[in-house]
Every structure is written in structure tokens, then in C-alpha cells.
Amino acid sequence: SAVISQKPSRDICQRGTSLTIQCQVDSQVTMMFWYRQQPGQSLTLIATANQGSEATYESGFVIDKFPISRPNLTFSTLTVSNMSPEDSSIYLCSVGRDVANEQFFGPGTRLTVL
């Protein structure tokens, strides 16, 4: 399985500010996704990070709030913009070699918005 790192591992932010989360993989992967896990809930897909093109967002998530970049096959960023306390969650990236293979998760970023 790939080695995945995320930065930061946790942060406490003030409402109205933005935070960019990085996901780095030690090998090239086709698939990269961003998930959110709100307190006491399961994982919900935010978007698919597409290399060299705009991300594909799930219903309920928009680019203005969660801009995503994926400049190459090993790196992606998720920005949580204009944060409110409702954005307090764990944010996770996942990767897969291709659509048919298993997905592995990064260590996650625990975000608290005050």
C-alpha cells in the first residue's frame, strides 16, 4: 500500500478564516479523493481530485467553499474556506492506484473551528 501523509494533522482556527490541507503520496496514483467525517458520523465524500483538471464535487459541496488542487499524481490540497464551527470535522484524503483497486486513507486532519 502507498504511504500517505497529510498536513497539518490538526488545527484550531477562527471562524471566517481558511485552512489548506495537503495530501502527499509516495507513489503515483490515479485516484485521489477528499472525505469529511463530522463528529459521531461516518465518512462523506467531498470531491474527487482530478489531476490537471477541476475536481468533481458531490452534492452539497461547492468549489467556492472547498477548492481543491491536484497538480500531479502524488499531491493534492483541499482548502476549507470562510470557516464556521459547522466545518469542525476530520478531513481525510484517500488514494487508489486505479478505479478497480482498494483505497487507502491518509492519517487525517482534525479541524476545530471556534
Binding site: S42, T48, V99, G108
Partner: protein, 111 residues
């Protein structure tokens, strides 16, 4: 709407017990079913199942898929306190690879 349902939502057992966790699904474009263990933040991959009736096994854990009845089970034998975690079931969609997760089963193993 694609849906994955896990049961029970929580379970308390004693060390040495055997547990069975259930996952049923209703999705279009099914590709595979995956099980994860989540102890802190990151889900850890356990199994990926694509074919019916073929058991996958890793130590005390095993899992099987029934694509006709649209469910999977995860068995843990001789449970240990280290098995305490949230177990997540997810279905991968064939055209996109994205995962649809169930609510999770919280397992607590008491000494």
C-alpha cells in the same frame, strides 16, 4: 439513491467472544465492497470483496460477500481488547471509484 447500511450500530462483547458485523447495500454500478477499521482518525484497510461466496481471511478476521442478497459480513473470532474500534463498510462504484460508507459499527471488547 445509493445506500449502505450497517448493523448493529454498536456492540459490547467480552474477550474471547466471536462477533459478526453486517453490511447491506443498494447501489447502482457496484464494483466492490470494502471493510475498514477506524481507531483514531484514519480508517485502516481490512478487506476488499468483489466476488460472491469467496471468503477473505486475515488472522482472526474474515469476510464474505453475497452479491445476490446484497450484503456482506465481517467475522472476528477470539476477540481481543485491541479489536475495539469502529468498523466501516463501504461500497466502491464502478464508474467513478468513489466510496459510499455505512454508518459504522462501534465494537467494544471488554477484558
Amino acid at each position: 439513491e445509493d445506500k449502505v447500511v450497517q448493523s448493529p450500530l454498536s456492540l459490547v462483547v467480552h474477550e474471547g467472544d466471536t462477533v459478526t458485523l453486517n453490511c447491506s447495500y443498494e447501489v447502482t454500478n457496484f464494483r466492490s465492497l470494502l471493510w475498514y477499521k477506524q481507531e483514531k482518525k484514519a480508517p485502516t484497510f481490512l478487506f476488499m470483496l468483489t466476488s460472491s461466496g469467496i471468503e477473505k481471511k486475515s488472522g482472526r478476521l474474515s469476510s464474505i460477500l453475497d452479491k445476490k442478497e446484497l450484503f456482506s459480513i465481517l467475522n472476528i473470532t477470539a476477540t481481543q481488547t485491541g479489536d475495539s474500534a469502529v468498523y466501516l463498510c463501504a461500497v466502491s462504484l464502478s464508474n467513478t471509484g468513489k466510496l459510499i460508507f455505512g454508518q459504522g459499527t462501534t465494537l467494544q471488547v471488554k477484558p
